[in-house]
């Protein structure tokens, strides 16, 4: 195989593809990136058997078709080369490839491309969604997904596409984020799947990197495919019953308090500096104001009050400082409303736009 490619393009695509490569040592070849050069199409691909990425290499000239495995450090090398065309050369069945460009040349040990697993097929009828709508929905929601593998279904994001539009929901059991977006060409049938949060995060990164204007989403029984321009992202889907967010979000509140979003973020950030890992932020609502405070034996105390339209009996409720701040930040617009029921029931954060909801369970305060 012999191929010439502009350095920037090669560096960027290898960098993007490498994010799907495995970081575990169990199956070594999964830590490498495949480069396949055929007449008319060159692509790089990587997978860890859960997520796979295939990206086209634009502007490459194929002198001789073939396929080669690139070790992880190839991407770093190319990035550090001086600008100019990069030449890749590999003789079939040899254990070494040569990489040269910008005056430097390298000979790298490499594995056999024939040993790389076959990637999932790119098949299925997809729904095309404007990239900005996809981003707007996924971006806010994906952060609420869990990182705890002991409850796998919570590490995914529920993606539902149907007549009512696109809905995404994610929860780690402490907070739940759900966003709904209208679609111009909404399908008549409902397709729904739990997509690993990681796959969505990669999709978001690819949309930004390729400046795509639309994405095509395919959800089958076994896999999800997201097509972003010429890029193909495939992911396994997560089995299991995703919690029914409609049942979890209360529809009635004792109090519904409106805040200036910027002001509230400021207070939460300042007080949050003192809140240690498990120390809650305490919100004490009383007539006309709320006091945000935290107490930490080791560090000290912090307290700040804000005027708010609150009336009724005093309500004191605790929240995890990071979860609360992230929730407020994720709401769009200048105003954030927090719906509250009691110190043991969740609070609901939303903005003027009713399409996004962030539900947050409190921390039970000791007397």
């Amino acid at each position: 195989m012999r191929l010439t490619c502009p350095r920037d393009e090669l560096a960027q695509k290898l960098g993007l593809a490498g994010r799907a490569a495995s970081s575990k040592a169990t199956i070594p070849i999964l830590g490498h990136t495949l480069l396949r050069a055929e007449d008319g199409r060159v692509e790089v691909a990587a997978t860890d058997m859960e997520l796979s990425l295939r990206l086209p290499l634009d502007g490459a000239t194929v002198d001789e078709p073939g396929a080669v495995m690139l070790p992880r450090l190839a991407a770093d090398l190319v990035r550090s080369m001086a600008d100019g065309p990069v030449v890749l050369e590999h003789r079939l069945n040899e254990g070494q490839l040569s990489l040269s460009g910008g005056g430097s040349s390298f000979s790298l040990n490499c594995m056999q491309a024939g040993d790389f697993p076959e990637l999932p097929p790119d098949v299925g009828e997809g729904l095309t969604i404007p990239a900005d709508r996809f981003q707007m929905t996924a971006d806010r929601v994906v952060r609420a997904a869990s990182r705890d593998e002991t409850r796998p279904v919570l590490t995914g994001v529920l993606v539902r596409i149907g007549p009512e539009g696109l809905v995404m929901a994610a929860t780690d059991s402490y907070r739940l984020a759900v966003r709904h977006t209208d679609l111009d060409a909404a399908p008549s049938e409902v397709r729904e799947a739990v997509v690993p949060a990681r796959a969505l995060q990669e999709a978001l990164r690819l949309i930004t990197a390729t400046r795509a204007t639309e994405v095509e989403v395919v959800l089958t029984e076994t896999q999800g495919v997201i097509r972003i321009g010429g890029v193909r992202l495939t992911t396994r889907l997560i089995d299991g019953q995703f919690p029914d967010y409609r049942q979890l979000v209360p529809d009635r509140f004792e109090h519904d308090v409106a805040f200036d979003r910027g002001e509230l973020i400021g207070v939460l950030t300042r007080i949050g500096v003192l809140a240690q890992r498990t120390a809650p932020i305490r919100l004490r609502f009383e007539q006309g104001q709320v006091t945000v405070a935290t107490v930490s034996d080791q560090v000290g105390e912090g307290r700040e009050s804000l005027p708010v339209p609150f009336s009724g009996e005093v309500l004191e409720i605790g929240f995890n400082a990071d979860f609360l701040r992230e929730g407020v930040e994720s709401v769009e617009g200048d105003e954030v409303r927090i719906g509250l029921i009691s110190p043991l029931r969740p609070g609901l954060l939303r903005g003027a736009d009713e399409e996004y909801r962030y539900l947050l369970m409190p921390i039970r305060l000791t007397a």
Partner: protein, 416 residues
């Protein structure tokens, strides 16, 4: 540890029975047993006639027809026990009370004010006898373990001071069952293999003991026999464990019995944990069979527990394990629950109901939150209206509801 025998172990003699004899002069000098269907405690006069704790009443009467049974006077036991502790406290702040009727003292720093350990021990015995009216035995030695053995040897109504230069002379000939942690089962095992005295235990090879008792226990018991006990006297301080036990007449381990007794014990232990603002991750149960053999099982949970029902469930699981491992045992005489690895109750992040199966052991789950809320309500009702005002039906309506709760409370220990 010092080179003086400045660790004291003060242990009231036949405490409950002694209190009864104090309160009712007609009982003095007579064999007295405190309890109902089972002997919970008895006087020395009764012990001399072969009566002992945990013995069923019918057998006790068989051995000692003149035995007088009395119901417990819980309030008095507590009051008098506290008064004795106050007296101990006048000699040193380093008093570690380990049950209602015994305590360790470190009087190493009290010599200038109160005199050497031997004098302090004598004064304690005299004052407790004169001011409270109860006999107390004291052991004085270089270590806690040795002081406790000394007080056992001193009983009844005696004082034993172990000269640090002659510790082996004192310990070696003593029976191996006096070592703390050697019960009837271990004692029998050791004796069967020719280890009858503490001296022989101290001289036994570690490998041999590991083979007999397991590596950890073997090392520990041998160290105690060799009087290697660096434990300091920890005054007041936070208990390392909270537990309760319940002795009853020989009963088959039916689900009803277990639910009732374990429910009762869990209620007491969890209630005390909550009152102290604590929760614990390690739960240990002790099951005693008819022949006084007992076994323990324990589990360390992922999250601390303080809810009554959850503690009961965990304890039931452990007891079931113990019973499964001893299928030939058909009767129980005692159950105990103890919670250790204690931490202060933390502020718990609550969880949304995302799981179909709600795990009560996760502190933030719905069930855990509901149980704790119920427990807190029960605690508040009891604070206002007394313990008997509210309780779990399985316990309150069960057969064993005979022995008063408050009496049982006294069998509870906060372990150090």
């Amino acid at each position: 540890m010092t080179a003086r025998p400045s660790i004291l172990h003060a242990d009231l003699d036949a405490f409950y029975a002694s209190v009864e004899q104090l309160l009712d002069p007609a009982l003095r000098g007579r064999p007295v047993a405190v309890g109902g269907g089972v002997v919970l405690a008895c006087s020395y006069e009764a012990k001399r006639r072969g009566v002992s704790g945990a013995m069923p009443a019918w057998r006790a009467r068989e051995r000692c027809p003149e035995l007088v049974f009395v119901r417990g006077s819980f309030g008095e036991y507590r009051r008098l026990g506290d008064r004795v502790m106050e007296i101990l406290g006048t000699y040193t702040p380093a008093v570690q009370r380990i049950s209602i009727d015994e305590a360790f003292l470190d009087v190493g720093g009290s010599e200038r004010l109160h005199g050497p350990p031997e004098h302090i021990a004598l004064q304690i015995r005299r004052r407790v006898r004169e001011e409270v009216g109860l006999p107390i035995s004291v052991g004085a030695a270089r270590t806690k373990h040795l002081a406790k053995i000394a007080s056992q040897v001193a009983k009844p109504d005696g004082l034993v001071v172990v000269d640090p230069a002659r510790e082996r002379e004192f310990l070696d000939p003593l029976p191996v069952r006096l070592v703390w942690g050697v019960g009837p089962v271990t004692g029998a095992d050791l004796e069967a293999r020719g280890i009858r005295t503490i001296g022989e235990l101290a001289r036994a090879s570690p490998e041999r003991l590991a083979g007999l008792l397991g590596a950890e226990r073997g090392t520990r018991l041998r160290a105690l026999a060799a009087n290697e006990d660096p434990r300091p006297v920890r005054p007041g301080g936070r208990a390392g464990s909270v537990g309760a036990q319940s002795a009853f007449r020989r009963s088959a381990p039916t689900p009803d019995l277990l639910a009732e007794v374990l429910g009762h014990l869990a209620d007491r232990v969890a209630g005390r944990l909550r009152a102290k603002g604590l929760a614990g991750r390690t739960v240990t149960v002790r099951v005693r069979f008819a022949d006084l053999r007992s076994v323990t099982r324990s589990i360390t949970l992922a999250d601390p527990v303080a809810a009554t029902l959850t503690l009961r469930e965990v304890a039931e699981g452990l007891v079931a394990e113990a019973l499964a491992d001893h299928p030939r045992e058909r009767t129980l005489t005692l159950l105990a629950i103890s919670v250790s690895a204690l931490t202060a109750e933390t502020e718990v992040q609550l969880e949304l109901a995302v799981d179909a199966a709600d795990d009560p052991r996760r502190p933030g789950s719905r069930t855990a939150a509901a149980r704790l809320a119920a427990d807190r309500s029960v605690d508040r009702v009891r604070e206002r209206f007394g313990r008997g005002a509210i309780g779990f039906a399985t316990v309150a309506l069960g057969e064993r509801a005979g022995v008063p709760d408050d009496f049982r409370e006294l069998a509870e220990r906060d372990g150090g």
